[in-house]
Symmetry: C2
Subunit: 435 residues, 2 copies
């Protein structure tokens, strides 16, 4: 059973701190194995990638030539997706694209009152890699959420890697990749795929940034290649915090809590309510749903071990609790969700009102579903267009404008004991003075 907490109890601060600090991640330490795989791919390139893939994905006939999926293979798989699903995928892609287009940053370039030219220029990274897990964790929605922002940003070469254990392609993943505009797809996975993307091989040109979810090997590989390439955040188990008053249907709220719990036994679902009886009703509804859900075993473990129901005297108290938890997903199932949302600082995504279950945002809302977990919404953001871009600053002085601002640079450089810095300005100031 989930833990029951009462915010007015004297033990609450300590119980809440314990809930916050409980460890949920269970990834094995695979750093040494991964380091060996990376070194091997770096040394032997394509051959190493093929060797690992033959073994791990049970593809004995794979060759360097067949690593890349042909347009025909992709289309052949994608075209088997039923029309209704294809339509749902297109609807999702359209909404995600439209939302992310508003994230495009503005470059600027101006001359200030001292005559100094100042600029800031955003450009896309040249090439990005997208890791897509195979098997049960192959989520087409995740392909859309990672690939579309890259293409909106203007990434010219978007390379997807996806393992195909026993040769099986996921048609919906292929359709999502095609819909999102992925440029190259390789049927490889694990640390060897991350290595190929980061270091490049004869067949796979290296990328500048790698994104996408993966298992412990993939996460470790991404951490190890960071620096050689950029990476996205390493996501922890999923989380939801639902703030709900008694005017909700307990069955709806229970299903929302379970929609995170069914992801992973390490996921966390927290209900904050101002009505203890409503909290009890939600718990009963959870039990009823668990009788019929296909992923009930996973969801039950998550709910029993990591779930919590926190009863507050007044919903205004929820603000401080939310900001401490800094949840990945925050549902505000209350009469005036905006009033509450405006007071909250830390959340990856906020779902407003009784008709906005978090899951609608996982697929078709428009905002990204790759969001900061494990309290990192305090300092980081969901995936977006900016993750596939970088900014270059521009500075331009004339002889005159350098004379206007250069003296301060010389003074500060000399005070810091960096005379070459100072001299590089002073030489030009003398010239500027002399004519």
């Amino acid at each position: 059973m989930p833990v029951d907490l009462y915010a007015s109890s004297p033990e609450f601060p300590q119980q809440f701190a314990a809930l916050l600090s409980a460890k949920r991640e269970t990834d094995a330490d695979v750093n040494a194995t991964v380091a060996a795989i990376l070194a091997e791919v770096r040394a032997r390139g394509d051959e190493a990638v093929v060797d690992y893939t033959r073994t791990y994905d049970r593809l004995p006939s794979l060759t360097v030539e067949t690593m890349r999926l042909s347009r025909e293979t992709i289309d052949g798989a994608a075209d088997t997706v039923p029309a209704e699903l294809m339509e749902a995928l297109r609807a999702a892609a359209g909404r995600i694209r439209s939302y992310h287009q508003r994230q495009m940053p503005e470059s600027y370039d101006y001359v200030d009152e001292a005559g100094v030219r100042l600029g800031s220029r955003w450009l896309a990274v040249e090439a990005a890699g997208l890791y897509v897990p195979g098997g049960t964790a192959a989520y087409p929605s995740s392909v859309l959420m990672n690939a579309i922002p890259a293409k909106v940003a203007g990434v010219e070469r978007l390379v997807m890697v996806v393992p195909t254990p026993d040769g099986k392609l996921n048609p919906l993943v292929m359709a999502a990749a095609r819909e999102a505009g992925v440029d190259e797809i390789y049927r490889i996975g694990g640390a060897q795929a991350v290595a190929a993307l980061a270091y490049g091989t004869a067949t796979i040109a290296p990328v500048d940034k790698i994104v996408g979810p993966g298992n412990a090997w993939v996460a470790a590989a991404k951490r190890q290649v960071y620096g050689t390439v950029g990476i996205d955040m390493i996501a922890g188990p999923s989380e939801i915090l639902v703030v709900a008053d008694k005017d909700n249907d307990p069955s709806w709220i229970a299903m929302d809590l379970l929609s995170q719990a069914e992801h992973d036994t390490a996921a966390q679902s927290i209900l904050v309510t101002d009505d203890a009886a409503f909290g009890e009703a939600v718990k009963q509804a959870v039990e009823a749903h668990l009788q019929v859900l296909p992923r009930a075993d996973i969801a039950r473990q998550s709910w029993d071990v990591h779930g919590a129901v926190i009863v507050v005297d007044d919903l205004a108290e929820a603000v401080a609790i939310v900001d401490r938890v800094a949840p990945e997903h925050l549902e505000l199932a209350v009469a005036d969700p905006d009033a509450l949302a405006n007071k909250i600082r830390n959340a990856g995504a906020i779902f407003l009102g009784r008709y906005t279950p978090e899951a609608v945002g996982d697929y078709v809302g428009g905002p990204n579903h790759v969001l900061p977990t494990a309290r990192s919404a305090r300092f980081s953001s969901g995936l977006g267009v900016l993750d596939f871009m970088k900014r270059t600053s521009l500075l331009g002085c004339t002889a005159e404008s350098l004379r206007a601002i250069g003296g301060a640079a010389v003074a500060l450089a000399n005070a810091e004991g960096l005379q070459a810095h100072g001299q590089s300005v002073a030489l030009r100031l003398n010239m500027a003075k002399g004519g």
Copy 2:
């Protein structure tokens, strides 16, 4: 002597690749020591911080009560800064503030044609920590460059830590902190200071993000606390690439190359020119400058070991070279710097024309001097206001708009085998249909 490369030589691709991959970082592996310090501060809080500081900074009389610098102590030191320097500091702060104010991102909130409420809300992190090295690497310009973007972003609590070995305060650092609006200053440093910022102690409340340069211990500590808090990039040794035609004064260009070389023996300075004789003249000017520069020993080591002069047939060839190097600093000392700049994708900062030595940007240009090193300008940006903010997405459906978009979510959720996701939407659709 620096390496001489000719872009037209058949050996160039291999020589250039070797230059790119040469290891310049020399940080010792201090991970185990640092992990022990972090654990100690986490367990014993203030007492551990004071114990380490007494030893490492030779401050035997330090107590928990005197860790934080009082307003009087800060003012007492800052007020000893000569008026001319104070004016230079204020001029720099004003220009940096003005440049960074343009980086403020826009939040938005709209209702789309399906009736779905969509938003993106940027907020500052609540509290940020700024590490400032003590001793010879104490740079007041670095205080401005790290603190001003945080304050422009709206960080409410900006906490600075700075070791004061033997009790010595750097007046200009104190003046810079005051000018930039730092809220709290503690006279502590090393891994223990990073631990105090990340985990908090009875005296120092924890922060959400830690920025600022530091030695190997500080860098290792930042890496280890990442996740508990956000961190900025871990900067490598400084780099400059200067593209210069023969119409430059070799003495100026030589000084620009040395302004990076004097930072650190691991720094790298590269000249790209279309005139071999000009390249020779620059090398001679470097030798002449090295006779008189106070930091000549450091600069010579950097230049001799990591420096390079690359001769191209045509300056247009510089574009591909620059994009491969992805330099932290790029000077374009040519007749038409904009034409060249517009073709370049990868550089942390670009300095346009013959009157824009990189050093003017280190102090008073306006753009940030904390920039991506070691080729990471391919995928990352200089420090800025966004580094102290995070974005929350907003999604709001009504019964009607959920009916418009929810069907696709149910279809995709079921296709992914996540029935609780699908049901959390479907329950509400039934209700919406039923009325």
